[in-house]
Symmetry: C2
Subunit: 220 residues, 2 copies
DNA sequence: GGGCCTCTCCCCCGTGCGGCGGAGACGGAT
DNA sequence: ATCCGTCTCCGCCGCACGGGGGAGAGGCCC
């Protein structure tokens, strides 16, 4: 393997014992170096600004400023910011999503084995690769929910009917749709009726709901 | 670090050169051993069944059966299945989602550095940790889109107004909502009017759209 | 006691909407 | 040549909906 440069690490956790444990694990590796610790989110921001580490292990729950906000602040204020790995106890924590949105480079469970921790830090330090607990599965499941297989009726809509439904789903009245499509209002009424029939709905509101639920609005 | 047991690996990729390159990279590590190769999805399934590796590096695009289906079959038919890492070329491949749904333990880009590859294999071989390319960001972004920060008007709705909007967004008429809430139709009309005012919409359809766009339907 | 908000309910009125039935024109299938 | 699907448009009818304006009961705050 290529000779590894030293990875400079800052630990942010409000519990001293956790920091000590992490330091012990990481310091045992010759290529990893803990260059700073912080017990609060605010402290984390200033310590990172000062020590310029390669990687930050950030606990989510901390006094004053939580790990998510601290992550945001670090990424927003520093040029060439460190890779931030968010650490938490429970994997179905909703913090996962917040952390990702905040720009965290990785996510780790506290129950992870020492070995995994060390390799995770190395991995995240020199790649754009995110690493992740099995909580990603729920993310993927959520994605599946957000992008359901298009309902059968979607394929049965004619071109104009799709256009009409799309405009309906933007809250336009029949008259507005007619103007937008440059056809007569009566034509729009016909298309709307066809859409209602094919979607099995009784009014435009239900049709719009069907469009959303079918992921019709996400397509194209 | 703890003494590492040997990680047995199967490579599945339809291009011989890719397999050769991966084998060269992985074999350079004393603790990694390539115990089999496959050029098609079907072959991958049988080779894995035969060699019982710890980790499979699976290309998505392969003849006969693609990597996703092969992953599904392996996970469905084998007890104590290997950890499967799906490999692809482009990171915004929609295969990412399919791979996760199929139960892949990890996801790697072909452009990943050798170093990252080696560590990824080690990491995935002995943890339940998924590792991931920056494509996760798009997943997270998608999640953010599906769960946008609630629009300011959401907090301004009273309890009953929220109830009414929720039922509106299920396609119910005012009369149906009234029955469902066990109040008079006139009451529902009042609440609907309040909802329209607070959401800045002009009819129930637009209100329902606002509810969907604000992630109001995902809440609770 | 007096505001203020919420929930409840009433009236009238105009209209956008959806249901019904029909029709002419174009084009592709057979 | 015939049928079928699509797009275009017409009239009529009933009603659910939304706007406007109001009102009483209960709770909360000061």
């Amino acid at each position: 393997m290529t000779p590894r440069p030293t990875v400079r690490i800052v630990l942010a956790d409000d519990e001293r014992m956790v920091r000590t444990a992490l330091r012990a694990i990481l310091s045992a590796e010759p290529d990893l170096e803990v260059v700073g610790e912080a017990a609060t989110g605010a402290e984390a921001v200033s310590v990172v600004r000062e020590r310029r580490p390669d990687v930050v292990l950030m606990d989510v729950r901390m006094p004053e400023i939580d790990g998510i906000r601290a992550t945001e602040q670090i990424l927003a204020t520093l040029t060439d910011p460190p890779r931030i790995v968010v650490v938490t106890t429970f994997e179905n924590d909703s913090y996962v999503y917040d952390a990702l949105r905040a720009g965290a480079a990785g996510f780790l469970l506290k129950r992870a084995e020492a070995d995994a921790l060390v390799q995770a830090v190395r991995l995240v330090s020199h790649t754009d690769t995110l690493l992740f607990p099995s909580a990603v599965r729920s993310l993927a499941a959520e994605h599946a929910r957000a992008c359901p297989a298009p309902a059968p009726w979607v394929a049965r809509l004619t071109g104009r009917e799709s256009d009409v439904l799309r405009l309906m789903a933007q809250g336009l009245t029949n008259a507005e749709i007619a103007r937008r499509m440059e056809v007569g209002p009566a034509t729009v009424k016909s298309h709307v009726a066809a859409v209602l029939a094919k979607t099995g709905t009784r009014d435009r509101t239900q049709a719009v709901i069907a469009a959303y639920e079918a992921g019709f609005m996400n397509a194209r």
